[in-house]
Assembly symmetry: C2
Homo-oligomer: 168 residues x 2
DNA sequence: GCAGCGTGGTTCAGTGAATGAACCGGGACG
DNA sequence: CGTCCCGGTTCATTCACTGAACCACGCTGC
C-alpha cells in the first residue's frame, strides 16, 4: 500500500497492517498459501497475476516476515499464519453479502468434522480450532467448473487441511 | 481493487470482498467511520487522502451499500458495520507485530469495562460485544502527540463508543 | 553433448489510476 | 453584499500495475 507513514497514522495499527498486506493481490496470495500453494508458478497461474507483480509482492512479503523462502517455494511464517483471522473475517463477509446460495468454502474442525462459527470455534467440540487443524471444503455456494481445471485447482477444490502443501 | 472478476476467482468470497473493500484507503475510511467520522472534510483531513480519491471511494462504497448518505454525511450501513471483525482482526495483527509496547487502541465492553479478547468476547461478562456497545480508547502502545492536534483527532483519541458521531 | 523443457524469474513499453494543488458553487452568517 | 465553510470537481503530473516477451538455470532423454 505504501502509505506515506504519516504522523496522523502513527497510532493506527490498521494503517500499519495495511502497509504490509493492503496492496492489491497480497491477501489473495496469502489465501492461496493457506490453501497449500507454495510455488511461484502456481501462485501466478492460480491468481492470474502478472509475474512481475508477483515477484514484487513476494519479495516484500518475505522482507516483512510474512513468507519465507525454502526449497519448495514460499511458505507462511507464524506471522503470516496469524493473518488467518483476517482472511476468515473477510471471506465470511463476502459470503454473507455476495453469495446468496451460502458459503463458497466451508470450514470444519478436521478432527471431528464440526463446522466453525464466526469466532473460529468448533460447533461440535467447542474448542478454538488452530489453523493446521482446519479443513476447508466446497460449501453450498460453491459453483463447480464445467471444464475441468488444472491439477492445482482440482486439489484446491477438494476437502483439505489448511497449509497442507499441494503435491502433484 | 477492480479485480477482473475472473473465472478462477468465482469461488472465492475473499476476492469478491476485496473487490469492494480492497482498494487503497477503503478500510481506513471504514475505520474512521467506526470512530464516528461522518463528514467528507473530516475523512479528508484525518486520512490525508486526496479529495478526488475520497470522492471516488465514497461513491463506490455508497453504491455497494457499505455507506449511506444522509443529512450529516456518510454513515455505515449494517453491511458496513459487518466489516468490524475484519477491521478488528487486522488491527490486532498490526498491534501484535508492529507495536511492541502493546495495543495502540484497546477495546472494552462499555457496560462493564471488560477488555475484549481476540474473538470479541468480553473478559468480564463473557458475552459477545456488539459494535455499538464497544468502547475504544488509547492503549499502552498509544503515542500521544506533542503538538495538540485538531478537534476531530482530539475527540477520536478520547475513550468513546464505536459509531458515536463526532460532534463539535 | 546437446536439444528440449519446466521452473523461476527479469525487462520493458503502454496504460490506467492515484496524487495534490487549484478551482468552483451553494448556503450560512454578518 | 462580502466572507467563510463545506463538499466537492478539474486537471496536469506521477506512479504503479499490466502483459507479453525474453532470459537463465537445472533436469531429462537421446
Amino acid at each position: 500500500m505504501a502509505l506515506p507513514s504519516t504522523y496522523a497514522d502513527r497510532n493506527c495499527s490498521l494503517a500499519r497492517a495495511l502497509e504490509v498486506v493492503g496492496e492489491r493481490w497480497t491477501l489473495l496470495i496469502v489465501r492461496d498459501a493457506f490453501y497449500g500453494v507454495r510455488r511461484f508458478g502456481d501462485f501466478a497461474t492460480q491468481l492470474g497475476i502478472p509475474r512481475a507483480s508477483l515477484t514484487t509482492r513476494l519479495k516484500a512479503l518475505v522482507e516483512e516476515g510474512v513468507f519465507e523462502r525454502d526449497v519448495d517455494g514460499y511458505t507462511l511464517t507464524p506471522k503470516g499464519i496469524a493473518l488467518w483471522p483476517t482472511v476468515r473475517a473477510l471471506m465470511a463477509w463476502g459470503d454473507v453479502h455476495y453469495s446468496p446460495a451460502g458459503v463458497k468454502r466451508a470450514l470444519r474442525h478436521d478432527a471431528d468434522g464440526g463446522l466453525l462459527d464466526a469466532q473460529g470455534r468448533c460447533e461440535q467440540c467447542g474448542s478454538l480450532v488452530e489453523v493446521p487443524e482446519t479443513r476447508i471444503e466446497p460449501g453450498p455456494g460453491f459453483q463447480p467448473t464445467v471444464t475441468d481445471p488444472d491439477l492445482v485447482s482440482q486439489a484446491m477444490n477438494q476437502p483439505r487441511r489448511l497449509l497442507d502443501p499441494i503435491k502433484l
